[in-house]
Symmetry: C2
Subunit: 287 residues, 2 copies
């Protein structure tokens, strides 16, 4: 069922709640790919009812970012969701989410602001206000859907860590389930932004996963010095790659490391054909 | 029943939820007086079950404010609540609310930040970060108790307006009920901070309600110019009064007015014996 308004959604949710059914929420910005579908499958296997939200959230985009051209494919998304047995696709307008004609700024709206320590690094360094926008819309969706579980992909590793921190700090009565990154056979992590890439660009983009895999291999061969591990990236890079960051930090707290350990995660952000791509990998085999 | 831990509270709440009972929350910082009791009575008459939270929230006090000496009277509070038929008094420690040994700052905790427009005026002007701390703890309590209704006093008018805005902006599924100011026969608005005042101080403090009542009288006699209405205050003030602000604004949006109207509220903050006191009044008779 495709629903556009909060009120209509709440009516359905309340029926489920009365029947004691468990609810799973998969928050997305649409442009669904197999990564999203893996979240949906996990939700279907965990909960009685599954809601997929499909909303390109304006307040998590910076003024120079790709909000306007972000891919919007609602019709296809709904078909994919139907195929997976999703109960409700919730696709509100911006007016529905933020109020009609509401100016979207810290001057006029209540924001959820994650801790500076988690925000002022990695993607947050260049995307000022991004995680405030993410946490705000996610908490709104949590309050609208009131799910028992919410499902997020490890692809946006910093985002999941920040959302888990928000849930803990604000006592949100919802369990966050993180699902593994889904990749093409080539190793490229699935992303809605891959649509912006040419075929050559897709080839150049493989460098992200190659760098991460190589770091993991080196770590498992006994190299633990973070600077040394990061330096292994240089041999992969060409003038097609505009590197934003490559970091190795604690996978739960995002704390910097001097020596990598089994709790470490390597994260990379790099532009290819001016498309900003991110990827990450846990250094320990079983992670 | 007196409960100190979130887990124990949630166990009780879940029983009520299963039975389909409605829940009312009265958030307080303890040191209960008849103002609080009026909120509790309203909650009792509205809901099946009533929870009173009793927690002096460290993150809403500035470094030079009265957090350490704020009156703490839990034993008496519990007796008063028992007398009103309150079902649960929830009195957590700071560790229970914010995590053991957690440093309390924007660097380490997720905050709820109300809009600058609502915050950078009246009490927020001198109490930097105060309303961030209020909204954060109130949202935490909302998520812990999951009430149908929450009750707040008009005494903290700016606070209620900001909490209503938060509930609207973040789609919190809770109805906010505002209750009238309770006053001593002298006109002094009840406040836990009145305990700091000497008998002479209490006399001097009457000036707050006198100024507000006089403004209301003048407005109802036809004076609408805000500057003129504010100037009527001067004749009441002596060197015992250290005025912080006197403003006339819209009672729902806190927007400034040039001409007062029936939607206006007059608000005052003034120190007496170095105790910061606040009060307010709706200009329209029936408000």
């Amino acid at each position: 069922m495709l629903i556009h308004t909060i009120q209509e959604l709440r009516t359905e949710i309340n029926k489920w709640k009365k029947d004691g059914l468990t609810i799973g929420l998969v928050p997305t910005m649409g442009a669904l790919h197999n990564g999203h579908l893996s979240l949906i499958k996990k939700a279907k296997s965990t909960c009685d009812k599954v809601v997929v939200s499909d909303f390109v959230n304006p307040i998590q985009f910076g003024p120079s970012e790709d909000f306007d051209k972000y891919p919007r494919t609602l019709e296809e998304d709904v078909k994919l969701c139907d195929g997976e047995g999703v109960d409700i696709v919730f696709a509100p307008s911006s007016d529905e989410m933020y109020g009609k004609g509401q100016r979207l700024s810290n001057d006029t709206l209540t924001y959820v602001c994650p801790p500076f320590f988690y925000v002022n690094k990695l993607c947050g360094k260049t995307r000022t206000g991004h995680f405030d926008g993410v946490c705000t819309v996610v908490l709104k969706l949590f309050n609208i859907v009131q799910p028992n579980y919410a499902f997020f992909g490890q692809k946006d590793a910093q985002q999941v860590i920040i959302i888990k921190k928000m849930v803990n700090d604000l006592n949100v009565p919802i369990e966050i389930i993180q699902c593994p990154i889904v990749r093409e056979d080539t190793g490229l992590a699935l992303s809605s932004r891959n649509k912006y890439l040419s075929e050559t660009g897709k080839q150049d983009a493989l460098v992200l996963s190659k760098i991460l895999n190589n770091i993991k291999t080196c770590y498992n061969k006994g190299i633990t010095d973070v600077e040394a591990l990061k330096e292994t990236a240089y041999s992969f890079l060409t003038d097609k790659h505009d590197m934003e960051y490559l970091e190795i930090v604690d996978k739960d707290t995002l704390e910097d490391k001097i020596k990598a350990d089994d709790n470490s995660i390597a994260l990379i952000a790099c532009r290819v054909e001016n498309v900003r791509l991110i990827d990450n990998i846990y250094l320990k085999e079983s992670n």
